[in-house]
């Protein structure tokens, strides 16, 4: 209870300080902000020191700069950093980051507990009532990338987004199958063989893509790609299949990493994903041309390459259309924010 009261006092003091001193910009002056907190909440020394440590690692600047749809990712990353680098209790680190995020953006995230009875909106600032009480500080952490040891259940995505993902993946796999058959002069193959080929390649491309996006795990995508390649090897006896899945799995894992690193939004990342998946062709081409077949015609290779690049661009165009926002929900966790539109820009950091 004493701990909850201290956190409540600090949170209330922080909001009052922002109201008195011109908005969130005061938080960027770490020492002055800590001094003000010490004046307003002198008994909460531990919480104030933790906030100071969080500000020292750049939490405020990072949260201000983070796109709104990646705010929770950034919070989780900073929380883990406080926990691992400074040995702080996770609960306390999470509370500090959530408070800084609220001060930086004016948004109370879905994972944040209500720290006080009053919630400060973006357009107005109100000091919280003095009798406000705090709830428990612990909150579930959103899903993180593989680089951090903490995982959490991924946010649910709308069913339609999954259907769009399946459609996109089917297009990729179909084009890949057709190009594969054309290269190896299997034009006279039976309909059954074509169907089996479509299904096989479709599964081996689609499943890693879906799993990787759902788990937000590049390693999971790579592992499943290799497993599927192994299955193909067993069924077909073609070692090239394993190489093919290694290429596509690596490209998919890389694009999933870029999804986070580039911070350009899921749309560009998905286009990069599509283009990267067709990059497996380069692996196949190199391996086959050097180790397997020496009679592969240059013209056919060019055709295959063009087909695969074309399919990537087509998928990108599809994603730019109505499917884009649906897939955006797929790759980012759901957030209950004050903004209705998922395309709205992050809130301004100007003084309120």
């Amino acid at each position: 209870m004493e701990r909850d009261q201290s956190r409540s006092d600090v949170a209330s003091a922080a909001r009052l300080i922002l109201a008195r001193h011109g908005g969130p910009a005061i938080v960027s002056d770490r020492r002055r902000f800590a001094a003000l907190l010490a004046d307003h909440a002198p008994l909460a020394r531990r919480e104030i020191r933790v906030l100071g440590e969080a500000l020292a690692i750049g939490a405020f600047a990072n949260l201000v700069a983070a796109p709104r749809d990646q705010l929770s990712f950034e919070q989780a990353r900073l929380t883990s950093r406080l926990e691992t680098d400074l040995g702080l209790q996770r609960e306390l680190a999470a509370w500090a980051i959530e408070l800084i995020a609220e001060l930086a953006t004016g948004i109370v995230t879905a994972t944040a507990p209500p720290l006080a009875a009053a919630v400060i909106k973006k357009s107005e600032v109100q000091p919280p009532p003095p009798s406000s009480t705090a709830s428990a500080a612990a909150a579930p952490i959103v899903a993180q990338w593989v680089q951090t040891p903490v995982t959490a259940p991924a946010a649910k995505s709308p069913p339609v987004a999954w259907l769009v993902c399946v459609l996109v993946g089917s297009i990729i796999s179909s084009v890949n199958t057709l190009s594969w058959f054309s290269v190896f002069a299997w034009r006279a193959a039976s309909d059954d063989a074509l169907i089996i080929g479509h299904a096989t390649v479709g599964v081996t491309v689609l499943v890693p893509l879906i799993v990787g996006l759902a788990l937000r795990s590049p390693i999971a995508a790579l592992v499943i790609s290799l497993l599927s390649g192994g299955i193909e090897l067993v069924l077909s006896g073609e070692l090239a299949a394993l190489y093919l899945r290694l290429g596509s799995g690596s490209a998919l894992a890389l694009s999933l990493l870029l999804l986070r690193r580039l911070d350009r939004g899921p749309l560009l990342a998905m286009v990069a994903s599509c283009a990267a998946i067709t990059g497996d062709f380069l692996v196949v081409w190199l391996v086959l041309d050097v180790f397997y077949y020496s009679n592969v015609m240059g013209g056919e290779l060019a055709l295959v390459f063009a087909l695969r690049v074309g399919s990537a661009l087509a998928c990108g165009a599809l994603l730019a259309a109505p499917g884009a926002s649906l897939l955006r929900r797929l790759v980012t966790p759901a957030e209950r924010t004050s903004a209705a539109s998922p395309d709205s820009r992050p809130p301004s950091t100007q003084p309120r």
Binding site: H21, A34, A35, L36, D39, H40, P42, L43
Partner: protein
């Protein structure tokens, strides 16, 4: 000579020199609890020694003011009181750290209009545990620009490890004079006692020239500056 004889000399037109002693006390919220209690105890404990130091310099009349600051600044003891007649009343803590406002208020009295007659360089002792949260630079500039402010002997006592030593050094504005640090109640009592007695002895001594008083105090302060007790604050 007795005090009555000295008063008699005053009556004949030979005025005693006045030494104005101004204590600027941080009463912000961070001083709540044992810090403000320790400061109150330290001041009450330092008064007898201060009176004794003043009595040893009969030609000098020590006048005391106390200025407190938190949210804004105001006089805790606004009218200068002779140290013999001073009764300490406890300070309370709360609010932010408006040191700049306090220095502006102090500057407003450091002039011949408010300090008439023969004056020794006033002694200003600042006691703080944190960082200013208002325009400190403006307040310090006003203090150093005032007629008696620039000539004053300025001493700073930092309470705890969160005090901004750069700010306190800027207040002292003397290359040899360092901030006195107190990390527990006993150290604070010792620092306050020294800060309220040593300047009285040094500044009012007839053997000390004006500029040399600060240097001499600085040398004495070196022996006071090392914190040797338990680290509590």
């Amino acid at each position: 000579m007795t005090t009555n004889d000295l008063n008699g000399l005053s009556a004949l037109g030979i005025a005693r020199r006045q030494l104005h002693f101004i204590l600027i006390a941080d009463c912000s919220g961070s001083m709540s609890g044992d810090k403000i209690a320790s400061l109150n105890h330290a001041m009450a404990a330092a008064l007898p020694a201060m009176r004794e130091a003043a009595a040893d310099n009969a030609e000098t009349q020590v006048m005391v003011r106390v200025l407190r600051f938190g949210d804004g600044a105001d006089w805790h003891i606004g009218t200068p009181v002779p140290v013999d007649a001073l009764q300490w009343s406890d300070l309370t803590a709360g609010g932010e750290t408006h040191l700049g406002t306090a220095l502006l208020l102090a500057a407003s009295v450091l002039n011949p209009e408010n300090m008439p007659g023969r004056q020794l360089p006033p002694v200003i002792v600042l006691v703080s545990d944190g960082q200013p949260t208002d325009d400190f630079a403006g307040g310090l500039a006003a203090l150093l620009a005032s007629p008696y402010g620039k000539k004053s002997v300025r001493i700073a006592v930092a309470i705890g490890s969160d005090a901004d030593l750069d700010v306190l050094d800027a207040f002292i504005a003397h290359p040899e004079f360092k901030v006195l640090q107190a990390h527990n109640a006993q150290e604070l009592t010792n620092r306050i006692r020294w800060a309220t007695t040593a300047p009285v002895k040094t500044v009012s001594s007839p053997l000390t020239i004006e500029g040399g008083a600060v240097a001499e105090l600085a040398r004495e302060a070196v022996s006071q500056a090392d914190a040797t007790g338990e680290l509590v604050w």
